[in-house]
């Protein structure tokens, strides 16, 4: 720009303050920068390389897609059905046309269509390293620890209280959502590594295990097995027909419960409540009501689980606060509720609540699904394992180490109930800690994540990824008909995507990991990228503070959760290139139109260190004898 135009900016009285706070050029060498652009991978606790496996599915390479998944999330077949999918609300596609890519169900596609992966699983050394590790509970966290440590030569023993491994995945997730065969096969891949799996072996005393077990480290992955109680009048007298949700689901899973009354009330609207109401319908109930204390916006259950329950004609009744269990001649006849009313402010937060009436609802059975917590009656309190004032163990958030150095916690046992994918990541991190601890290294000094970039340019107008935007809407998961699905408890409701659906759904992925990489010194400020960008995410302008810059971009950058990229000063005018990452569709047209290759499309690969990488790095640092 000309001298005069710059002067015009100089005359601005706010110039002095702006000058001192100009945005610094973005440091894209920080591993978080490009990682964060891949919204799904950033949101996934285990940082699964979602765009990569979706591309592999698009190429029909289901086995490879499965292995990319297995690397980070260990249970792709299971998670492809029941993951809490933090990736989907984060998906950029959801900001462009409301519905995100069906990331979770594409994972299932890879799992359903893969070949045998036995030969691709990590090799287990015959010669062990002499270190023995105990895992308590055969749930997803412990299994992940075993999965990560077995290839390094550890001897891992898992103690499980029930006769089958799987933990919550087996006891609390109904088989019409997660078939037992899928569960058993993926657990089998880990136990098949030579894990010493001791079923029907509940740990009764931590002291005994630590003193007499002969283990170098102990991992507690015992979950959050205690369902919350609802102490109201009549609770004890009605005990025969009032069930704790997670205990009841477990009894159903093991075949101890096969029937329930005709009219069932579920208290609570979390995901456990959704499993309880749908299971009830399959055990003979014909009227199931889910009772919510608050209005819809406050439900804990995932939107898709609510949809699936409502598809099965479960009634969700809001603004009812449980008051008492009602009995007649010693038997439960129903429950009494207070009818609630709430005042909400502009942001939808409750500012006041009041009782406006009372309602009796008849019921033969009531299931309580109002939360669960971890509980450690078997851990003596004088072992050096500290518990805080809520009687929760004190755990390091990064290393998962307790205050007793050889004891680690993970999964729901560590920080209370979360979900499978979080437990898997806890397991990965605990495995790194256990390895470092067992090798006599400081547990907190771990490898940092790194990001590699590689150009996708193949030649003139050729990019080695599918860069065109495909305007198709999210595919709907086909379900077994309502009539058919209730015939047996274990009929899987979701059928999986058809080949045609897969073909379309994979094209919805925007390849956010194919990054727009800018080199300021090559830019001649011709505006070609700015003119071609379909979503107006680029601007060349004079620098400013972030607050002042965001509203004056070509499309105002209103989503503060998404970062701005700011380049170094451009050679000809000293202005800066600003990119709002929010809505970039990664079409590559900026790079395609750039006459000087100042923009390039480069695939970022995140290396999120797991125990194997940690072990390799420790090995590389050992002194060598040549």
């Amino acid at each position: 720009m000309s001298v005069a135009a710059t002067q015009q900016y100089d005359d601005n009285p706010r110039r002095a303050s702006i000058l001192t706070l100009l945005m610094e050029p973005t440091d894209t060498s920080h591993p978080d920068y490009y990682h964060r652009v891949v919204d799904c991978q950033w949101a996934c606790p285990a940082h699964t390389d979602v765009p990569e496996y979706i591309r592999l599915i698009a190429q029909g390479r289901f086995t490879d897609a499965y292995m990319v998944n297995r690397e980070s999330n260990v249970f792709p077949g299971i998670l492809g059905r029941v993951c809490d999918r933090p990736c989907e609300p984060a998906c950029r596609r959801g900001r462009i046309e409301q519905k995100p890519v069906a990331i979770c169900r594409l994972k299932r596609v890879a799992a359903d269509h893969r070949d045998d992966v036995t030969k691709l699983l990590p090799k287990i050394p015959k010669l062990k390293n002499g270190k023995r590790i105990a895992c308590i509970g055969a749930g997803c966290a412990s299994l992940t620890v075993a999965n990560d440590l077995m290839p390094l030569g550890y001897e891992v023993t898992i103690f499980e209280q029930y006769g089958e491994p799987g933990g919550l995945m087996r006891t609390n997730i109904p088989s019409f959502r997660l078939p037992q065969t899928v569960l058993s096969e993926e657990i089998g891949m880990i136990t098949g590594m030579g894990v010493d799996l001791r079923l029907n072996s509940p740990i009764k005393s931590m002291r005994e295990l630590l003193d007499k077990g002969g283990f170098d480290a102990v991992f507690v992955g015992s979950g959050a097995p205690k369902g919350k109680e609802l102490k109201l009048p009549g609770r004890e007298a009605a005990a025969a027909n009032v069930h704790i949700g997670i205990d009841w689901l477990e009894s159903v899973a093991f075949g101890h419960v096969e029937k329930i009354g005709k009219r069932v009330l579920i208290i609570g609207v979390g995901n456990t409540a959704m499993d309880c109401c749908r299971t009830s319908l399959r055990l003979g109930a014909d009227s199931v009501k889910v009772m919510a204390r608050k209005p819809r916006g406050f439900f804990k259950a995932s939107v898709w689980e609510l949809e699936d329950a409502e598809e099965e004609s479960v009634a969700i009744i809001i603004n009812r606060s449980p008051k008492a269990f009602v009995l007649a001649s010693g038997k439960l006849t129903g429950m009494l509720f207070d009818q609630m009313e709430y005042d909400l402010d502009a942001r939808g937060q409750i500012t006041a609540e009041r009782i406006v009436g009372e309602e009796f609802l008849p019921a033969d059975d009531v299931i309580l699904a109002i939360g669960q917590e971890n509980a450690f009656p078997w851990v003596e309190r004088n072992l050096g394992i500290s518990f805080d004032k809520w009687d929760v163990p004190v755990i390091d958030k990064i290393t998962f180490q307790s205050t007793r150095p050889e004891v680690f916690f993970g999964g729901d046992a560590a920080f209370g109930p979360k979900n499978i994918i979080w437990a898997v990541e806890h397991g990965h991190q605990a495995a790194i800690s256990i390895h470092r601890y067992a090798q006599g290294e400081a547990v907190a000094e771990r490898l940092a994540p790194t990001v590699n970039l590689q150009s996708r340019k193949m030649g003139m107008h050729e990019w080695s990824y599918s860069n065109d935007y495909t305007p198709v809407e999210r595919r709907l998961m086909p379900h077994v008909s309502i009539k058919e699905r209730f015939k047996k408890l274990n009929i899987e409701v979701e059928l999986g995507f058809t080949a045609e659906q897969v073909e379309q759904e994979v094209q919805r992925c925007l390849n956010c990991d194919v990054q727009t990489v800018f080199v300021a010194k090559l830019c001649i400020e011709c505006d070609a990228c700015i003119d071609i960008c379909p979503v107006d995410c680029l601007t060349i302008t004079h620098n400013g503070t972030e607050n002042e810059l965001r509203p004056r971009l070509k499309a105002p950058a209103k989503n503060l959760a998404q970062p701005l990229y700011v380049s170094a000063g451009l050679p000809q005018t000293g202005r800066v290139m600003v990119k709002d990452e929010d809505l970039c569709v990664h079409c590559g047209l900026c790079a395609e139109r750039c006459p000087t290759a100042a923009w390039d499309m480069q695939k970022s690969t995140l290396h999120w260190p797991l125990a194997t990488a940690e072990a390799a790095s420790l090995e590389a640092r050992k002194p060598k004898i040549a």
Binding site: S2, Y469, C526, D527, I530, P534, C587, E592, R593
Partner: protein, 351 residues
């Protein structure tokens, strides 16, 4: 050149104009010009200006001749009428169309070859007639379509890509237009949309011939060291003299401007151009002093830019020739063709 078309996906909060259209609705076909061509930026500026003025696409007429520049009319407002004429003859087509239908908005896009070499005569006469149109010259100093020979606007001493020096003096379209009595003369740069977009808006609303000479670097044949029309050279040597802000007609004028700093020019439809002088000595309403000033700066190797001359009081083609107020296609047949008796009467008047 890009082989995937710009996807239809758009920013969800893209603003809408008075017609409910977004900027995307004013785009055209996929550009086949070189990546980084200044012409594509001018296209984007035309898209922006047409959208901001809420011109109904079917009321827009896009005219061009031959050359890289003349391809650009395909790349904006695909809903408009287009005419790609013989080399240098675009003004004739514009003349005819304008004479027949004065209700449409006319935009001609030409290049330095199409305008200053083969079409120079046509260009001059369109200016003399004060034809009601916006005439944009995408000026890059070379014949890009025939591999970069010097054009008539190549500056003295500029170097071609292979190193030859130009020894012939350039024709400057701005000075030429001013001597021919043009009523709206502007110069701008493809790389400065803040200046260019309001100029296009003002030019489209000006009653009469509006010329905007846009320096538009040829990224393939004229963007090297030694060229006086490269991006880098243009940025160093162009001097905004007068900035023009376009203020559309609104029931209440809410724009606040202090006397002495801004000079409002009211256009025929009531909309305004606010002129802000960046060079205190420059007067964009005085043809003689403006032309002198431009020439003096040119001697120093500088290009003055902005709205360099405006005279809203000049009579346009329709006014001078007393043409009917309505488009010819809206007149009844009897009025258009009054019959042989009327013809005889008219001829008799000359006998």
């Amino acid at each position: 050149m890009t082989f995937i078309a710009k996807p239809k996906v758009a920013h969800p909060s893209l603003p809408r104009n008075a017609l409910g259209s977004t900027r995307r609705d004013y785009e055209g076909a996929l550009s086949t010009l070189c990546a980084g061509c200044g012409h594509d930026s001018i296209t984007a500026a035309i898209v922006e200006a047409s959208w901001a003025l809420a011109i109904e696409p079917q009321n827009m007429v896009k005219l061009s001749g031959i050359g890289c520049s003349s391809k650009t009319t395909a790349y904006f407002v695909s809903g408009g009428h287009g005419f790609n004429s013989v080399h240098g003859r675009m003004p004739s087509i514009a003349m005819g169309a304008n004479a027949a239908n004065r209700a449409l908005t006319y935009i001609g896009v030409s290049g330095d070859g199409d305008t200053l070499s083969i079409g120079l005569g046509q260009f001059c006469h369109a200016i003399r007639r004060n034809l009601n149109m916006l005439y944009i010259i995408e000026n890059n100093g070379v014949y890009g379509l025939t591999k970069g020979q010097f054009s008539a606007s190549a500056d003295l001493g500029t170097k071609a890509k292979k190193g030859e020096t130009n020894f012939q003096p350039p024709i400057d379209p701005v000075l030429l237009a001013m001597t021919l009595g043009a009523s709206f003369v502007a110069r701008s740069f493809s790389g400065d949309k803040e200046q260019l977009v309001p100029l296009i808006q003002a030019g489209l609303k000006h009653q009469g011939f509006a010329l905007i000479d846009v320096l538009s670097p040829c990224v393939t044949f004229n963007d090297h060291e030694g060229s006086t029309k490269s991006y880098a050279y243009t940025r160093e040597h162009y001097e905004p003299a007068v900035h023009a802000d376009f203020v559309p007609l609104q029931p209440e004028i809410t724009v606040d401007y202090r006397a002495g700093e801004t000079l409002p020019v009211v256009l025929h439809d009531g909309s305004r151009i606010l002129l802000r002088k960046l060079d205190a000595a420059y007067d964009p309403t005085n043809r003689t002093s403006a032309a002198t000033h431009i020439q003096e700066r040119m001697k120093l190797g500088e290009h003055l830019t902005g709205l360099l001359y405006i005279d809203e009081s000049q009579r346009d083609f329709h006014d001078i020739n007393a043409t009917p107020d309505a488009p010819l296609n809206s007149l009844p047949f009897e009025t258009l063709s009054p019959g042989s008796k009327v013809l005889e009467k008219a001829l008799a008047a000359y006998r």
